[in-house]
Amino acid sequence: MNEELDSQLSAMFDDELLPAECELLARRLSRDEHLKARWGRYAIIGAVIRAERGVRLNAPLAGRVNAVLLAEPALTADTAPRDRNQARLRWWQPLAGAGVAAGVAAVSIMWLRAQAPLPGAPQVTQVTAPGQAIVPTASSAAQGDSYVVPRPKPAAVMVPSTELANYVVAHSMFSNPVARRNLLSAFMASESPAAGTQEPQSNVKAIAQ
């Protein structure tokens, strides 16, 4: 699998890698000294091909710049271009004011998350065509409207994080293996803003057809 990574590195060096893949690789590149060294050698190869005479090919320039920057304050998130996902809610935070306007169908399922939507992702999941109610079983027709979700009450209170964590961990033992990995990965996720912001290629439709 390392070859794939190096191939991506080569493509990224030539600015021929997809933006989403650049985001991932940029993170690895910044932390992996071996990858960085290889990247640096790619630059040297290019310099030799261009016969940049007189230029010292192995100058410790990067090291010297790095040394100076160590003393510089790190640029902060304030200096970064505004992240459209900044409104993202952490799972332990209350959902005050998270209500989303319902659609016009007779029965609709509301997406209660407070996260800013993904580009292109609908905020309201319009589920049914008018007239096609979602009723779990015929016998519960009378309770069918339990699916109509009222706006959440504002001013919910902070949940103790450990409580939901307990539930998540306990539940994870009963999820299917793929879902379990998703669940625990999300639970392990860092909450720093340093993560990439690209959405994965949605090739569902492409493959299905």
Partner: protein, 342 residues
């Protein structure tokens, strides 16, 4: 092939040798036909690989517009499952399991959660796809393609209604490991994705691979008590759900004490063979000073919903759309006089 007898013996033996050789050659030359699996068969192979093989890998987890790198190590040895899931992005969080012992290291909260799961739980398997599942999911192979230089079979699991999510899985042909997996909502939008950057299936993984790397000095440790609460049995009988979303049925019912909780917690599991939802029922402690759980929450793409019924807090958690957990939680009812405060 009539020949003078002088050389016939030699020719005969040559012919025999040739015949033997050609048969052998034919056997070798015959193309090995790969065993063809049904789409459901691929899922079963995948589940088996994920739960029984030893592996060590790093993957990118995309969810909610953010990407994280994590490391996963999994080992089954002498019937005991060990796992380690660690964030590589500086949160330092780690989940380590050795057998029935689950530990969550949350350095950003300076907390360690320790859960001792019931021993008999290891006998309970995760939801398995069966004939019933096909009623609610359309499972098919939608592609056979190379991913990271590996041959993969792309299996799509498409729900037939909006109570559940869909999946698209790139399953490695030779190891059946899911090299890439996507969670898909009702609109075909990818809402979660995991892609392995590296993956090694090894025969041996040392115990040291499952030791945490962080120092827990000064951390708060929250443990649970594995022994069931004395009243657990009685309360477990009291709760059940009627009118579940189609295909869901209860498969597990247990009682335990979770770290930090006061009394016994009933744990019910509902599954449709693919997705599963846990419902936890806890006697509501005195309202004063105890903030209630918010109505809804999300853990990645999984949903949680909490409500209070008859003095009991009911929380549903599962890898399903929010409305499904909300619905299931709302269906929990206490039978008989066990409901407090009636």
């Amino acid at each position: 092939m009539s020949r003078p007898s002088r050389s016939s013996g030699r020719l005969a033996s040559l012919a025999l040798a040739w015949a033997v050789a050609s048969v052998a050659a034919a056997e070798e030359a015959a193309p090995k036909r790969p065993i063809e699996y049904t789409p459901t068969g691929w899922l079963e192979r995948m589940d088996q690989a994920l739960t029984t093989r030893n592996y060590d890998g790093t993957f990118a987890h995309w969810q909610g517009g953010r990407v994280e790198m994590l490391r996963i190590i999994h080992r089954v040895q002498d019937g005991t499952v060990s796992e380690r899931l660690a964030s590589l992005d500086g949160s330092g969080r780690e989940f380590i399991r050795t057998g029935a012992n689950l530990t969550c290291y949350l350095p950003d909260r300076r907390t360690v959660l320790v859960e001792q799961r019931p021993a008999e739980e290891s006998l309970v398997s995760f939801p398995t796809v069966n004939d019933q599942t096909a009623t609610f999911y359309d499972i098919r192979e939608v592609g056979h393609m190379r991913l990271n230089r590996r041959d993969t079979h792309v299996i799509a699991v498409s729900p037939k209604d909006e109570y559940r999510y869909g999946y698209q899985l790139w399953i490695d042909e030779s190891t059946a490991m899911p090299l890439k997996s996507q969670l898909i909502d009702a609109h075909g939008q990818v809402i979660e994705q995991i892609v392995f950057a590296s993956l090694t299936l090894s025969s041996r993984i040392a115990d040291s691979a499952f030791r945490p790397e962080i120092s827990t000095e000064g951390f708060q440790w929250l443990r649970n008590d594995a022994t069931p609460h004395p009243q657990a049995g009685a309360s477990a009988l009291a709760w059940s759900a009627t009118n579940l979303p189609p295909g869901f049925r209860m498969t597990v019912r247990s009682a335990q004490i979770l770290p930090g909780s006061v009394g016994a917690v009933d744990h019910l599991v509902f599954t449709d063979g693919f997705a599963s939802v846990s419902v936890f029922v806890e006697r509501q402690s005195a309202p004063s000073g105890q903030p209630p759980v918010p109505e809804s929450a999300a853990v990645g793409s999984s949903s949680a919903f909490s409500t209070v019924v008859d003095g009991h807090k009911i929380t549903a958690v599962g890898e399903v759309p929010p409305a499904t957990v909300r619905y299931i939680a709302g269906q929990l009812k206490a039978q008989g006089a066990a409901a407090a405060g009636r």
